[in-house]
């Protein structure tokens, strides 16, 4: 009585085929991913990776040149630069991830509500976002930390807040088009509440662009943290921060002990670069039009 069953034979490539394919197609993205993975691993396992204790001072090793004991040299207090950079990765990662999660989370919630509900709520959120976005990220972060005081928690907040409008806008535009999709109408036709539809049907479909956005933002959050710390308004002592390492040494020691400036600077550049590469590749790879 029921009509015939069709055989579906999805030909899915094996995991390794996928990986090799992606590697060949997005070599830069892979490079970026390698950089970021190294960064994350350093951050997670800092205690094991770092050769020396980043906090212990050693007057005799003050301003030591790069050598066997201090691979990247030592700073003015004899602390090992390499170890400080590795532990600094931990701070940078904590701030970046914390700020990104907070900012993206809040931004996504606002964008979802704004796009789905529309009306006055949307109008207000839009205008507020626009005002916020007209201020440079760093300026806003500065204002926030200056008023809240420098601490790890405040740095995270200060970097998270400027992220909110950007994320909200992207999510909102996604939601606007998702809202019109037939599967949303079908859910309405079954009598589902608007709230449930927004959370169960619309939100999961905004995750992909959200992830890409977050990855792309990672680089700029790290840079912002470095900038804030450089200005003394970010992460305070004793946490090692790349930005502060720069500010401590840039003016006085740039000529006498250039390794104090080069290596933290290089670390910052490399991570931002890596996150940008990875973010770009992710965006291209997830773009449905690029699919075979």
């Amino acid at each position: 009585m029921s009509t015939t069953v069709s055989q579906d034979r999805p030909t899915k490539p094996s995991f390794f085929n996928e990986v090799f394919y992606l590697a060949r197609r997005y070599p830069l993205g892979v490079a970026g991913a390698i950089i970021m993975t190294t960064f994350v691993l350093c951050a997670l396992f800092a205690n094991f990776v770092a050769p020396l204790d980043p906090f212990s001072t050693n007057a005799r090793a003050s301003l030591a040149r790069p050598s066997e004991t201090h691979l990247l040299g030592a700073d003015m207090m004899g602390r090992d630069v390499l170890s400080r950079i590795i532990h600094g990765a931990r701070i940078s990662l904590a701030v970046a991830v914390g700020a990104t999660i907070m900012g993206s989370g809040l931004g996504a919630a606002l964008g979802l509500a704004s796009g789905y509900l529309g009306g006055w709520f949307d109008l207000i959120i839009q205008r507020v976002s626009e005002v916020m976005q007209s201020l440079p990220l760093l300026v806003m972060a500065l204002v926030i930390t200056a008023s809240l005081g420098p601490s790890l928690r405040n740095t995270i907040i200060a970097i998270a807040i400027p992220l909110v409008p950007t994320v909200a806008r992207v999510i909102r535009s996604n939601v606007l088009s998702l809202r019109e999709m037939p599967f949303v109408e079908a859910a309405k036709a079954t009598g589902m509440s608007e709230f449930r539809i927004a959370v169960v049907h619309v939100l999961p479909n905004t995750l992909a662009p959200l992830i890409v956005l977050a990855t792309a933002q990672l680089g700029s959050t790290i840079l912002t943290e470095a900038s804030l710390s450089f200005l003394g308004l970010g992460v305070p002592e004793p946490y090692p921060s790349w930005g502060r390492m720069l500010s401590e040494s840039a003016a006085e020691y740039v000529r006498t002990a250039p390794w104090l400036v080069i290596f933290p600077g290089l670390a910052i550049s490399l991570v931002v670069f890596g996150s940008n590469l990875m973010g770009d590749a992710l965006r291209d790879a997830l773009d449905p039009r690029q699919r075979d």
């Binding site: 015939t4 069953v5 069709s6 055989q7 034979r9 030909t11 490539p13 996928e18 075979d292």
Partner: protein, 327 residues
């Protein structure tokens, strides 16, 4: 009459991460001047890639035309250099697509786009080309052609855009027009107008038309000969009355039986609860084709040989070839 378009053993593949996709395999056909050949099939049969291969518009990578020849008036297009091929496109062979909005440049007026074509191929002045463009728009029955030529694609309706695309394609009187589902996106009444138009222009200019479609009604009304494709290969070819009157390949038979008919126009009394005949199953993936006949899994008449041995095209009746062991 010597054929204007001779396609012989055309094969096109795609290199993808899911393996080698054999989109078109060993396809051959010929079209005479002033005639229409319809290539029929459903999605995944390779008809669109065939059309794109004729004009060498297949993206190369990941695509590759691995063998065959496409001769227009004796010249093999596949052997030409890129610049020589560009000269041929528009002047000897042209194409119109399903979705005119994406095929027309949204930033140029309709007249300008036709004008460009004319200047490129006929090497005349802009003014002469402009006049030709307006004339062409008139030819495709767009009212107020002078005014319309100064409008942008988005200002025209779907039917008019399709006419504009036809005007652009035929502006330099090519010998061959490849039409890829030109009316599928149009309303039925507009479709009828466009098909009439193509037919009239064909009669006037003597163009050979290759019409790609999945709509058997369109085929019956416009084509002289019909080619049926399945899973990248040609499986049947015959003149239109012959193929509709006596389809030999089980796929073509299945297609004809699965269409509901507008019965009353034929004077038939269609029983209200009559079931449409189905073709069970789905088209096989082009990167994982079975060793024997590609249609075998869905065929009601298949036997053991069909499963292991792929049938070749053979003449089963006068001027009627099919690739089937059971035909």
């Amino acid at each position: 009459m010597a054929p204007v378009l001779e396609v012989s053993g055309l094969s096109t593949v795609f290199h993808t991460r899911r393996g080698l996709v054999r989109a078109v395999q060993d396809v051959s056909f010929t079209v005479n001047a002033g005639e229409t050949l319809a290539i029929v099939g459903e999605s995944g049969c390779g008809k669109t890639i065939t059309a794109l291969s004729l004009l060498r518009l297949v993206p190369m990578p990941p695509g590759e035309i691995t063998s065959g020849s496409v001769k227009v008036d004796g010249t093999d297009l596949l052997k030409l250099s890129d610049s020589e091929m560009r000269e041929m496109r528009g002047s000897k062979i042209a194409m119109i697509f399903q979705e005119p909005m994406t095929a027309l440049n949204p930033l140029l007026t309709v007249g300008k786009q036709i004008q460009e074509m004319v200047v490129l191929h006929d090497k005349c002045s802009q003014e002469v080309a402009r006049k030709r463009a307006v004339e062409m728009l008139h030819h495709v029955r767009i009212p107020e052609p002078e005014r319309r030529s100064r409008e942008y694609p988005h200002q025209l309706s779907g039917g008019m855009r399709q006419r504009a695309m036809i005007a652009m394609a035929l502006a330099c009187r090519p010998k061959v027009l490849v039409a890829d589902e030109p009316t599928t996106a149009l309303d039925v009444t507009i479709q009828a107008q466009i098909l009439d138009l193509i037919g009239d222009l064909q009669r006037e200019f003597g163009t050979a038309v290759v019409l790609i479609t999945h709509d058997l009604g369109v085929v019956a009304e416009t084509a002289k000969r019909v080619c049926v494709m399945y899973a990248g290969r040609k499986v049947e070819e015959a003149p239109v009355e012959e193929i509709f009157g006596r389809p030999l390949h089980p796929y073509m038979q299945g297609l004809m039986n699965s269409i509901p008919r507008v019965g009353s126009a034929r004077g038939l009394d269609v029983a209200p609860d009559e079931r449409l005949q189905e073709i069970s199953g789905i088209v096989p993936p082009l990167n994982d084709l079975p060793p024997g006949c590609a249609f075998e899994p869905r065929c009601t008449r298949a036997d053991a040989r069909c499963k292991t041995q792929r049938p070749e095209l053979a003449m089963k009746a006068p001027d009627h070839i099919a690739a089937c062991w059971q035909a």
